[in-house]
Amino acid sequence: MATYEDIRNIFTRSSNNPTGVLPTTSYTLDIKNHFVEWFGGKELDDRWNESQSGTGTFAMSDSVNGGFTLYPASSNTNYAQINFNNKRPFAHNGSVMISVWKQPANNGGASTVGMCNSAGTSPNSWNKDFYGTRLWTTDTHYKLRTADASTVTESANSDVARNTNFNVFRWEATSSNVIMSVNGGTSVTKTTNLPTAKLQPILMSWNENGNRDYLHVSYVEAWNT
């Protein structure tokens, strides 16, 4: 599993070097954008944008491994979302996102985690130029969801049943497919309705018919390949 592989490489190759010169082999990787968020501390920093309809809740969880929590307002279609406010440094056809997140209950709400082009305009956030996972109340397993500019579709069930624990999701987008793995297990590959435009991370908790659930996220890492 490559969860922390890239950042390890970065730290390793930038460690002390008496000649003061990095090895040439590091530069292809170095030149790409990379991003790591641990969701620790008092609050989110200025890199993140909080979007919502209604008045939702955004907070660091005061609990062990709690991460950051999102909870939408009480009305149907209300959402609570964090994104980069449409600053989109990641490629639709060459990027990876890793996230550790959970929806600790199923009260009829939905959670969405992945990369999108149009933030803060739900449901466009998950229906247009998107890759990631949307966990709907009727889902029995995690799925891979992708959208091009006009059409959104989902894969068949992965081999990981929905649960209330933190899971590690890894999505990789190339020019020909998007591949998802959950907890390092069997991959799900999707070749249709791939995103077509630059992307940003999105994490969203959604109210469906007055039903809502918390979304907890404890780690996000993303980079261009």
Partner: protein, 233 residues
């Protein structure tokens, strides 16, 4: 490059637990905005002459961009400072990195290599009242309006001077690495050692900095940065 050995911590990728790590800082330059402001954030945004535009770029691998004002000697700069709000002038920098045993790595580019533009990244010892980078302790690299090639630039608090490399200025992303020692400052660009400067070396601690300025010429000048790492050795 030696493949990293898998451990449970990032710390152990840099040092064994028997070694107390010195200061280290990593900035990815992605997201809605720079982590800056008046309530204990990381970066301070300063400028001279006219207000620059400083923001994240909405583009793949775009990083963070500074666009200066159009008046002569306009600039924009980000560094660590005790912040009274982003403003004109020179705030006292937070000097966490040593002048003689530290490293700073930056990936940045000058967007318009035209007359009067300069883009610099590295360390600054900017203090309240300093007039730009010339009167400060500093060690940085990049482009300078009057030079054709990339240069290594250091200042000892009284005099700042440049050592020009053989690398012509261009508009591409480059990886600049500065290693500071008591006897010299080494500049490597894209993995190749390009300069070893021994004069006017900084004499005290400094802060990471990215700096875009307009000297002479017409129009605003732009530079962008998308990675910075600094550490004491």
């Amino acid at each position: 490059m030696v493949s990293p050995t898998r451990t449970n911590s990032l710390y152990e990728q840099v040092h064994p637990l028997t070694t107390v790590m010195e200061n280290r800082f990593v900035e990815w330059f992605v997201g809605k905005d720079l982590n800056h402001g008046t309530s204990g954030k990381v970066w301070y945004k300063g400028y001279s002459v006219s207000v620059p535009t400083m923001s994240m770029v909405d583009d793949i691998g775009g990083g963070f961009k500074i666009t200066t004002g159009t008046n002569t000697y306009s600039d924009g700069r980000i560094y660590f400072a005790h912040d009274n709000g982003d403003q004109a002038g020179y705030e006292d920098s937070v000097k966490q990195f040593t002048h003689n045993s530290s490293t700073v790595i930056s990936i940045f580019k000058e967007i318009n290599v035209t007359t009067g533009s300069y883009s610099l990244s590295g360390f600054t010892g900017m203090a309240t009242g300093n007039a730009g980078t010339t009167a400060t302790q500093n060690a940085n690299s990049g482009t300078f309006q009057s030079l054709s090639n990339v240069h290594c630039r250091t200042g000892d608090g009284t005099t700042t001077s440049q050592l020009e490399t053989d690398l012509a200025k261009d508009t591409n992303w480059h990886i600049h690495r500065l290693d500071l020692y008591s006897a010299n400052c080494k500049l490597a660009v894209d993995g190749t050692l390009k300069a070893t400067k021994t004069t006017n070396l900084p004499q005290s601690g400094m802060s990471p900095v990215f700096y875009q300025a307009k000297g002479t010429g017409s129009g605003a000048k732009e530079g962008a940065i998308r990675y910075m790492e600094a550490y004491n050795r």
